[in-house]
């Protein structure tokens, strides 16, 4: 749902408190991106173009992925961080995910229709690729080497010929908020180059699901919460035992 309670300035303030980071916005000016946005919009996952931060790199070099998608068994709590780590050239284990927090996560129409990877996943990969481009620019300055001679791996930028000359993503973004508007589709890794995507990782929600700690919506309890149940007249519906069943017309 749209984050009506918070505007961009408020969001940036919160990020500042968290220690800054890179925010990638999609402006959707590119024809290809816009066509895709509209196509996705038709399927109910339209991505707004003004307020949509997908990731943040903290000063501790941990990456936070924000998504309006939720985990309901399709394993996106695990697979979306894989997508992000792949395109950002970050360590998969350094990627945290925040799902469905309407104060922080980009707008999303909902989690349905096998759209999380196929549609949201593309936007996420593009955001990660763009963020990596920004990090390379910052690193060129920091390491005093042209971008063409830099490589990125596991959350660090290295001088290819002198790997001891390196800087972490977190050091590059430390204390700063870098806003980047994405106007064209950034290059994505070909699948032949994938290192994190395509591998099986243990599900991040596994422990809570085998211990009963996982909270499903019916498990959430608030103080003073009331319970409601729909009641139907068993005679009118002609169902033995008052069970719900389809009334024949």
């Amino acid at each position: 749902m749209p984050a009506t309670s918070m505007n961009r300035r408020e969001f940036l303030k919160r990020l500042g408190i968290l220690g800054g980071g890179i925010i990638v916005y999609f402006t959707g000016f590119d024809r290809l991106a816009r066509a895709r946005t509209q196509r996705a919009g038709f399927l109910g996952t339209g991505i707004p173009t003004d307020f949509n931060a997908f990731l943040r790199i903290g000063p501790d070099n941990r990456v936070v992925l924000y998504t309006g998608k939720i985990e309901m068994g399709q394993s996106v709590m695990t697979s979306l961080p894989q997508l992000l780590a792949e395109e950002l050239h970050a360590d998969y284990n350094a990627v945290d995910i925040i799902m469905g927090d309407t104060d922080l996560c980009p707008w999303d129409a909902g989690t349905f229709g096998s759209l999380s990877i196929r549609y949201f996943g593309i936007f996420l990969r593009e955001a990660a690729s763009e963020a990596r481009g920004v990090l390379l620019e910052l690193a060129a300055d920091h390491l005093k080497a042209p971008i063409g001679r830099l490589v990125t791996k596991d959350g660090y930028v290295y001088v290819a010929s002198k790997p001891e000359r390196r800087v972490s993503y977190g050091e590059l973004t430390k204390g700063r908020i870098i806003e980047k508007h994405l106007n064209s589709v950034p290059p994505l890794k070909p699948s032949s180059a994938h290192e994190t995507v395509g591998k099986s990782f243990p599900r991040r929600d596994a422990i809570e699901k085998v211990t009963g700690a996982a909270q499903f919506s019916g498990d959430i309890r608030f103080p003073g919460m009331l319970y409601a149940k729909s009641q139907k007249d068993r005679r009118a519906y002609g169902c033995p035992g008052g069970r719900f069943c389809r009334r024949s017309s």
């Binding site: 309901m72 068994g73 399709q74 394993s75 243990p202 599900r203 929600d205 596994a206 422990i207 809570e208 699901k209 085998v210 211990t211 009963g212 700690a213 996982a214 909270q215 499903f216 019916g218 498990d219 309890r221 319970y227 069970r243």
Partner: protein
């Protein structure tokens, strides 16, 4: 009519003043806040509410709270001991024996009851034994693998 009923839940004694005709499932979930046992169908057809009553896998939606007076109830929350997962829980993690996880508490406790009765079940005995527990995500084959793995490890003395 309200009566005083005592039993243990995950080792903790509870004493409740309740209508003894209420189901164990809803007393656990609402009165005691133990939400590991899930409400699936409420009619004893899906197994999501399975708990252990004196080490036997039972459907909590089909038991009245009066029937379990004086019993030891173990729910999924009480299966891990001293922060160590039970071999069944470990095996479900290793094999990803779930997708959404809603049937998982019932699956694990049903398997617990199955292995208590038959520690070395064949694959077809596992399938037959788990027949009353439904998973609509499609994790069935991995659930069977997880139970096979756990049976192996428990045979070796692991609990």
């Amino acid at each position: 009519m309200k009566e005083t009923i005592e039993f243990k839940v995950n080792g903790r004694p509870v004493r409740l003043k309740v209508d003894g005709e209420r189901t164990l499932l809803w007393v656990l979930r609402t009165d005691l806040g133990v939400t590991g046992p899930k409400y699936g169908c409420g009619e004893g057809l899906c197994g999501a509410c399975t708990v252990l009553v004196d080490d036997s896998a039972e459907l909590a939606c089909q038991k009245t709270v009066r029937e379990v007076a004086g019993s030891q109830i173990i729910t999924i929350e009480g299966l891990a001991q001293n922060d160590r997962l039970h071999p069944l829980q470990e095996a479900f993690v290793r094999h990803a024996g779930f997708q959404c996880g809603y049937c998982t508490p019932g699956m694990i406790l049903k398997a617990y009851g199955l292995l208590a009765e038959n520690p070395t079940p064949s694959r077809s005995e596992i399938i037959a034994g788990m027949d009353d527990n439904l998973c609509r995500c499609g994790a069935h084959t991995r659930i069977i693998q997880a139970i096979e793995t756990a049976a192996q490890e428990m045979k070796g003395g692991k609990k």
